[in-house]
């Protein structure tokens, strides 16, 4: 197996993909950022420039290092440009068929040794790998948002992933300065398997009149020392995203706690999507937060 030197990121126009590209380039790897949406990619490139400029301002890197990192990064809307990558990480949206198709296409483009990693947070690595033509070289590599700041990566082998490939991918995450943890290929791995049902429980508690959102958040923050209350977190994640997570989870687990609570659906229907729409379980006006 070849050493990993060049890394491709699919879905690099998104927040997660752009963050992963930063992680890889900052650690000294050559990075090709791919997204079929040219505008999104251009926006991500601009944001990446801004991120590194801030890193220099804050003394986290020298100007010389910034230039070197940016030299290692390129972007493309042509999938063929990933042809000489040793590792390709996909961070496209959570849809099994689309991810399968992407890996199938990449299988025809990339050399035999190239490892495919999926940043999925809920889908099965084994299913994503299924039919791609190199099931033994597909691993789960779930970064936390924002990837350029959060160190944790959930690493999962699929049923057909070779140990050698998994170890190579694991070592690569360590080489980037990230901290990998190993999980089985199960829905939501660790983080979302705990968080998705919990968030739904919290929403159901609001619906059941257990307490006002502000009181629930206060109890969790004061009682358990969490930095952010669960409803504040759901507002940050996005209520529509929480529904999408439920829709990935519930059909696989059939756990009633993983199904989207009626209140969540009503809020999304009303346009209360969380921070991004200015209103979710709380109302946001600039930096001020009011109970809702």
């Amino acid at each position: 197996m070849t050493e990993i030197r060049k890394v491709g990121i699919c879905g690099a126009g998104g927040t997660m993909g752009a963050g992963i590209a930063i992680v890889a380039a900052r650690a000294g790897f050559e990075v090709v950022s791919y997204d079929q949406r040219g505008e999104a990619l251009a926006r991500a490139v601009k944001q990446t420039d801004g991120f590194f400029a801030k890193s220099v301002e804050r003394g986290k890197m020298t100007d010389g290092n910034r230039e070197a990192v940016l030299t290692r990064m390129s972007s493309t809307t042509d999938l063929e440009a990933l042809a000489d990558c040793d590792l390709v990480i996909e961070a496209i949206f959570e849809n099994l068929e689309v991810k399968q198709e992407l890996f199938g296409n990449l299988n025809n483009i990339c050399p035999e040794h190239t490892i495919f990693a999926s940043n999925t947070s809920t889908l099965s690595i084994t299913q994503i790998a299924s039919g791609c033509g190199r099931e033994d070289k597909v691993v789960g590599m779930h970064f936390c948002l924002p990837a350029q700041l959060m160190k944790l990566i959930e690493m999962s082998p699929g049923l057909n992933t070779s140990e050698e490939v998994f170890n190579l991918a694991w070592n690569w995450t360590e080489a980037t300065g990230q901290i990998p943890v190993k999980t089985q290929d199960k829905p939501g791995f660790i983080l979302n398997a705990l968080l998705v049902p919990f968030n739904n429980d919290v929403i159901r508690a609001v619906e059941a009149g257990v307490a006002e959102p502000a009181d629930i958040d206060k109890a969790i923050k004061v009682g358990l020392g969490y930095k952010m209350g669960p409803l504040e977190l759901i507002d940050l994640i996005g209520l529509d995203t929480q529904i999408r997570l439920c829709e990935s989870f519930y059909p696989v687990t059939h756990d009633p706690r993983a199904s989207a609570p009626p209140l969540l659906r009503r809020k999304v229907a009303a346009g209360h999507l969380g921070r991004k729409s200015g209103r979710g379980f709380f109302t946001y006006d600039g930096n001020t937060m009011f109970g809702a």
Partner: protein, 209 residues
């Protein structure tokens, strides 16, 4: 604001030596019952009953959803035998007097506590929400999803929690977790509250001694 304490046995919220106990006075406007049987008194601004896993209605009785008076329940949140936190879960009923809620909140806040108001439902806020999560984590551990260390690390690093679910529930005591989940299961009857295998084992081992 002054308060009177009627104590019987050891309080989970205010263990022996807690400064809150020392600041009590006699014949005050607020009466706090810690383990002692409460006596209704309409002349009090508020009467506060310390709750364990039971609902406030066990002490006051219920009346077709119209129950409520100057009596409130409360519990100072504590993870098993960890030191009590500064959180007071204050329990109201549908018709609890607003003046009693305000008096209780003001009294606790002036004593340095933070108050979260909730309705009279089993597990209040924290146990209702957190116990199923601990159950999930304990089940995942049994199923081999990841090691306890990695699950805890994931929650600390991925979500910024001060501790992970396994270390927290074990520190609080799996026997205690068994008692709480068993009581919640009796009310809710859903698998989320079923005492998990590790808690059952811990409880059974404790009973052997």
């Amino acid at each position: 604001m002054h308060y009177t304490i009627d104590l019987s046995g050891e309080s989970r919220s205010f263990p022996t030596g807690d400064p809150f106990l020392k600041s009590a006075s006699s014949n005050a406007d607020i009466a706090i019952y810690l383990g002692a049987l409460f006596k209704p008194d309409d002349t009090k601004a508020a009467i506060l009953i310390e709750l364990g896993t039971e609902c406030l209605g066990v002490h006051t009785g219920e009346n077709a959803g119209e129950e409520g008076s100057n009596v409130l329940g409360f519990s100072r949140y504590r993870n098993g035998d960890d030191a009590p936190s500064s959180l007071i879960e204050l329990v109201r009923q549908p018709a609890t007097l607003a003046s009693a809620i305000e008096a209780a909140q003001t009294m606790f806040e002036s004593a340095g506590f933070e108050v979260a108001l909730c309705s009279d439902q089993a597990g209040r806020i924290i146990d209702r929400l957190m116990r199923p999560k601990y159950n999930d984590a304990l089940r995942f551990l049994d199923e081999g999803l990841a090691t306890a260390k990695d699950m805890d690390l994931t929650c600390r690093m991925g979500l910024g929690y001060p501790d992970g679910p396994i270390e927290r529930v074990e520190r609080g005591g799996l026997g205690h977790h068994y008692d709480v989940t068993k009581s919640l299961f009796e009310i809710y009857g859903t698998s989320a509250y079923t005492p998990p295998r590790r808690a059952v084992v811990a409880k059974q081992r404790a009973n052997l001694k």
